[in-house]
């Protein structure tokens, strides 16, 4: 590389890293490749596609990043290598099965799981997958001829593959879920707001939002400690989940703030749901025996309907304003913000 090329590459690298930071994108080799290409300016299609995503304030989540990688780096050797290895692994296993004369069930299950993973085309896990399969091939080969042992080892390996699949599913879930309460986290909720509003814009159906804030939560943490605070948070999350229907969404919006999205629900119905939440909390027996005794949780709730065509930030802002009014007017109540149109 010439000095100019080195300097230029360095400048591109700096831009790539700055952009990845800006969009909170994990600095994996695959993602780095995407953003380096973007800033290098040699791939107009990649650039235009990413510019569309940026200008629409899209979330650069796992799926989008994987799709970008698969679309623009698809003739990539790593993916091919993994496919070759997994095909090779399958063939080797089939040979072993033939030699060991095993009952076909275990081997089929193992081969099926292996094929399942190989065909998913995982992004960052390619490295892990590659070494896992190489290990499996290695182990299987060295066990050839020792039939019961092969049977046991194959079952163990099948177990490893299942664990890997489960870990991947959990990893995908975790990035959208709030760890403490099990409801959606803030990041995934922003995506939910966009999706619900987009659908409401198309269908013309009503759409409402509730902003829920625990009253005097700081006092709970100060008086009884953060563990009790966590119990209160989990209890509220559970109450919210029970108060809503299947198509509704509950999220932890902030430390002690929750949000609920209610599709096909107008203002009066949303207020009704909010009142039910308030009543459900009031009806609950005391959570735990504490000294001093803890009073039932109360919440302040702000409600607002989506007005199609209004900026999403405005809709959220109106729900927040209603919440603020509820707090100001004495807490433990529901207030509704009418849209101006």
């Amino acid at each position: 590389m010439s000095v100019d090329e080195v300097v230029q590459a360095r400048s591109i690298a700096d831009s790539a890293i700055a952009t990845m930071r800006r969009f909170e994108i994990p600095a994996t080799p695959a993602n780095y490749a995407i953003w380096f290409e973007y800033h290098a300016g040699q791939s107009p299609n990649l650039q235009r596609t990413i510019d569309v995503l940026i200008s629409n304030q899209a979330n650069f989540n796992e799926t989008t990043l994987q799709d970008l990688y698969a679309t623009f780096f698809s003739s990539d050797k790593e993916v091919q290598a993994v496919r070759e290895i997994s095909v090779h692994a399958l063939q080797t296993l089939q040979e072993i099965v033939g030699v060991a004369d095993l009952a076909s069930d275990d081997a089929q299950q193992f081969g099926h799981a292996l094929r399942g993973i190989a065909s998913k085309g995982l992004g960052e896990s390619l490295g892990n997958l590659k070494s896992l399969i190489e290990n499996l091939v290695q182990e299987s080969k060295s066990m050839a001829g020792r039939s019961e042992y092969v049977g046991i080892r194959m079952r163990e390996s099948a177990g490893k593959i299942e664990a890997l699949e489960r870990n991947l599913e959990n990893a995908i879930l975790d990035s959208t879920m709030d760890g403490l309460t099990g409801v959606a986290n803030r990041k995934s909720f922003d995506a939910i707001i966009r999706k619900s509003a987009g659908e409401a814009m198309n269908s013309g159906d009503d759409l409402s939002m509730l902003m829920i804030d625990i009253d005097h939560f700081k006092n709970v943490n100060d008086t009884w400690g953060h563990q009790t605070g966590d119990v209160v948070l989990r209890h509220l999350a559970k109450t919210l989940q029970n108060a809503v229907r299947g198509g509704d969404h509950v999220a932890r919006y902030g430390g002690e703030e929750f949000a609920v999205i209610l599709p096909r629900t107008d203002g009066p119905a949303a207020v009704s749901v909010a009142e039910n939440i308030r009543l459900a909390l009031a009806r609950e027996p005391l959570l735990v025996e504490l000294t001093p005794p803890i009073t039932p949780t109360t919440v302040s709730i702000g409600a607002a309907c989506y007005d199609p065509g209004e900026p999403l930030a405005e809709w959220v802002g109106r729900a927040d304003a209603a919440l603020y009014s509820a707090k100001r007017d004495g807490r433990d109540r529901v207030e509704f913000n009418e849209c101006q149109s």
Partner: protein, 136 residues
């Protein structure tokens, strides 16, 4: 009649025509309000087929195009349009709830000038219009 897009004042004898192609009445209503407020003349079509007919009668300056519609969807309309319109081809802004890389790629590859994700508002739509009319 003066047509104004974000600061530029262009005096034109005939105002620019925007064709709103979407099977949702509400989307057309919202878009119509924004475009009219910007000084555009508007026309509407609820699917790609009707949109093509409208273009044959009078070619618009810009098309706001939904993806999923009955009879003929947005992509088919766009392909037809690009085949037949030649030099008079309007600017096309896809406007859809489809937000994945594959849809964006397909739209751009088939000649969309811009891609606007729903839900949109005045600001996001004007931003796309600016891209189309100033950077075309």
């Amino acid at each position: 009649m003066n047509a104004r897009v974000d600061g530029e004042v262009a005096s034109t004898a005939i105002s620019r025509l925007c064709l709103l192609v979407d099977d949702s009445m509400l989307v057309r209503k919202i878009a119509r309000k924004i475009f009219t407020g910007l000084g555009f003349e508007t026309d509407e079509a609820e699917n790609g087929q009707i949109a093509l007919e409208k273009c044959q009668n009078r070619m618009p300056d810009v098309v706001l195009l939904d993806w999923n519609m009955p009879v003929m969807d947005g992509l088919e309309f766009l392909k037809s349009l690009r085949r037949t319109a030649g030099g008079r081809a309007p600017a096309v802004i896809f406007c859809t709830t489809e937000t994945d890389v594959e849809h964006i790629q397909k739209a751009l590859a088939n000649g969309a000038n811009e891609y606007l994700m729903k839900p949109f508002d005045q600001e996001s739509l004007v931003a796309k219009l600016d891209m189309v009319f100033f950077c075309k």
